[in-house]
């Protein structure tokens, strides 16, 4: 098409795509000749190498990160309050999770030592009891069977209960002989346990069989219920964190409306405009997470001494397990991520409403 117009040989390469579409074939006035040799202009950005672009991109990332952090620290009281709100919302479910994992630990250690206590009738002699013990020990579903004579049981009672004085005043030993049977199957096979229990109770020498599993199972069920409660609570509080951060970001956007308008007018991409606000959200989340970790550490430190004393009273070696280093880091990461999402939602909702007018 251009060959039809040989009269215009010197035209500057036309970025308007004149050869592509007929609508540009309308005759146009020739530009003054001095325009032929002006400095290159226009799509200047295309003259930049990919390396420059990447450098600029990463520079803007670190700039946005640092600047948004400095902005936050510029209004310390306001930021601290937001951080605290987030920290409390995170620390509450996290504390409950930690408490339940501790309770579960107790349950586990008791479950491992789960055993069936078989109480023998009074008339059973020590010899009969020993026979019974060795017979049961050979059963395939029994790991171990231990005979505890009434005298041994009394000794244990004296030592363990703190009521030794009372026992000394007894005329005769009220305790029966006991055979402790450790079943091979774990706590997850209640049917097998029940059949074992029935087999044991069938012996004429047996007075009663106590399966210690039941309350462990109840504890487990309780923890499952409580865990669901905590998950729901954590979900609600996470939503709260999202709303708090979303609202904070919305105000930050409102405060910088003029800047956003100007920056959009000079050709900022949406990603460029978004970036500082996303970092603001990230910092709110991370700051809240760090505060939450500190709150938790303080709280568990404060609790650990009385809990240890309590455990000692129960002759348990149980110790309160707080949040470890890795878990604290995970907590902070999760908080930061939540902050980022909250900021993203706020930015998506509010930033696009701000257009140059």
């Amino acid at each position: 098409m251009k060959s039809n117009r040989p009269s215009k040989p010197e035209r500057r390469p036309n970025r308007m795509g004149a050869s592509a579409t007929p609508r540009n074939e309308r005759p146009r006035r020739e530009a003054p000749p001095r325009l032929e040799n002006v400095r290159p202009q226009g799509a200047v950005s295309s003259q930049m190498s990919w390396r420059d672009k990447f450098d600029a991109w990463s520079a803007h990332h670190s700039n946005s990160a640092i600047e948004s952090l400095l902005r936050m620290l510029g209004t310390p009281l306001q930021s601290l309050m937001t951080w605290l709100v987030i920290a409390i919302a995170i620390a509450l479910p996290a504390a409950l999770f930690v408490v339940f994992s501790n309770v579960q630990q107790i349950g586990q250690s008791w479950q491992d030592s789960s055993q069936i206590s078989v109480f023998l009738k009074k008339e059973a002699s020590a010899g009969q009891a020993q026979d019974l013990r060795s017979r049961w020990a050979k059963r395939p579903d029994v790991v171990q069977a231990t005979y505890v004579s009434p005298e041994q049981a009394l000794e244990e009672f004296k030592l363990g209960s703190g009521l030794g004085e009372l026992a000394n005043h007894l005329d005769e030993n009220p305790l029966p002989a006991v055979i402790l049977v450790k079943p091979k199957i774990g706590g997850n096979a209640p049917d097998a346990l029940t059949s074992l229990q029935q087999a044991l109770v069938a012996d004429p020498l047996v007075a009663d069989v106590r399966l210690d599993m039941l309350w462990v199972k109840r504890l487990h069920q309780f923890i499952t219920v409580a865990e669901r409660f905590v998950v729901a609570l954590a979900g609600l509080l996470a939503l709260g964190v999202l709303l708090v951060i979303g609202n904070t970001i919305r105000m930050a956007i409102e405060n910088r409306r003029d800047e956003i308008v100007v920056v959009k007018l000079v050709g900022a991409t949406d990603a460029y405009v978004r970036r500082p606000f996303l970092y603001t959200g990230l910092w709110f989340g991370v700051g809240g997470g760090i505060l939450a970790a500190i709150l938790l550490a303080l709280g568990f430190w404060w609790l650990s001494a009385p809990v240890t004393q309590l455990a000692d009273l129960y002759q348990s070696s149980f110790r309160l397990q707080g949040l470890g280093f890795i878990e604290s880091l995970q907590l902070i990461l999760i908080a930061g991520f939540t902050g980022l999402i909250g900021a993203w939602i706020a930015v998506a909702r509010h930033l696009y409403q701000i257009q140059p007018r």
Partner: protein, 222 residues
């Protein structure tokens, strides 16, 4: 560079800002846009910048059919247009230097390149000694020149100015016009909206005259 094909703009309120406007601007031209306030000057500028969409007709700028431009292209398109506002739209929370550097930072220029170009632009508008000042402390004319420096720092192919001399005395407005002329002489297409008839007479350039949204004049003076 700019072509309007029977462009109309009717706002949601029913107000017709532009009615079947046709004109074409060549690359490297310098021209004025005039009319009373409300005649459609600002609307016309906004259509070029794609701050508004026309109700009817087609707008072409720099080879782009604006109605068909994908949203993702808009920032890159705007980087080629420098804009000077009557209220100059400077950011008062940062220095003159940072205001002028904004278009370059947005476009991702390397640090040293930004420094070079910002100083060149500030030198051009004779404000090199004010680069560390806050624009709030500058006079109206100086603020307007900072706005011009920001508009040209990216070496745009098209420079739009909406009432750039709006509240400046004649001497200052002459200075600013001289600047625009200099940019035009190195090849930038310059379009200036003004209602200052004296200025139009002095400049003796092509004038587009708008009356109630209609293009009633196209040519040198009247």
């Amino acid at each position: 560079m700019i072509r309007f094909e029977t462009v109309s703009k009717r706002y949601d309120t029913g107000y017709e800002a532009l009615a079947r406007v046709d004109f074409e601007v060549e690359s490297g031209e310098m021209l004025f846009l005039t009319g009373h306030s409300g005649a459609g000057k600002s609307t016309l500028m906004k259509l070029i910048l794609l701050m508004e969409q026309p109700s009817n007709g087609n707008v072409f700028v720099d080879g782009h059919h604006l109605a068909r431009m994908p949203k993702s292209q808009l920032p890159y398109f705007r980087r080629n247009i420098g804009v000077v506002f009557q209220n100059h739209q400077l950011l008062f929370d940062r220095t003159v230097y940072d205001n002028v550097a904004l278009p370059l930072q947005v476009a991702g220029y390397p640090h040293q390149e930004i420094g070079k170009r910002v100083r060149a632009a500030l030198d051009k508008v004779d404000l090199l000694d004010k680069e560390r000042s806050n624009p709030m402390t500058l006079s109206g004319g100086e603020q307007q020149r900072v706005g011009i420096a920001r508009a040209v720092v990216n070496k745009p192919t098209l420079l739009l100015a909406d009432e750039p001399t709006g509240n400046l005395d004649p001497e200052l407005s002459n200075e600013i016009m001289t600047l625009f002329r200099q940019f035009n002489e190195v090849g930038t297409t310059v379009m200036i909206a003004t209602h200052d008839v004296e200025l139009l007479k002095r400049m003796n350039k092509r004038v587009l005259g708008l009356v109630q949204g209609k293009l009633v004049h196209d040519g040198v003076l009247w």
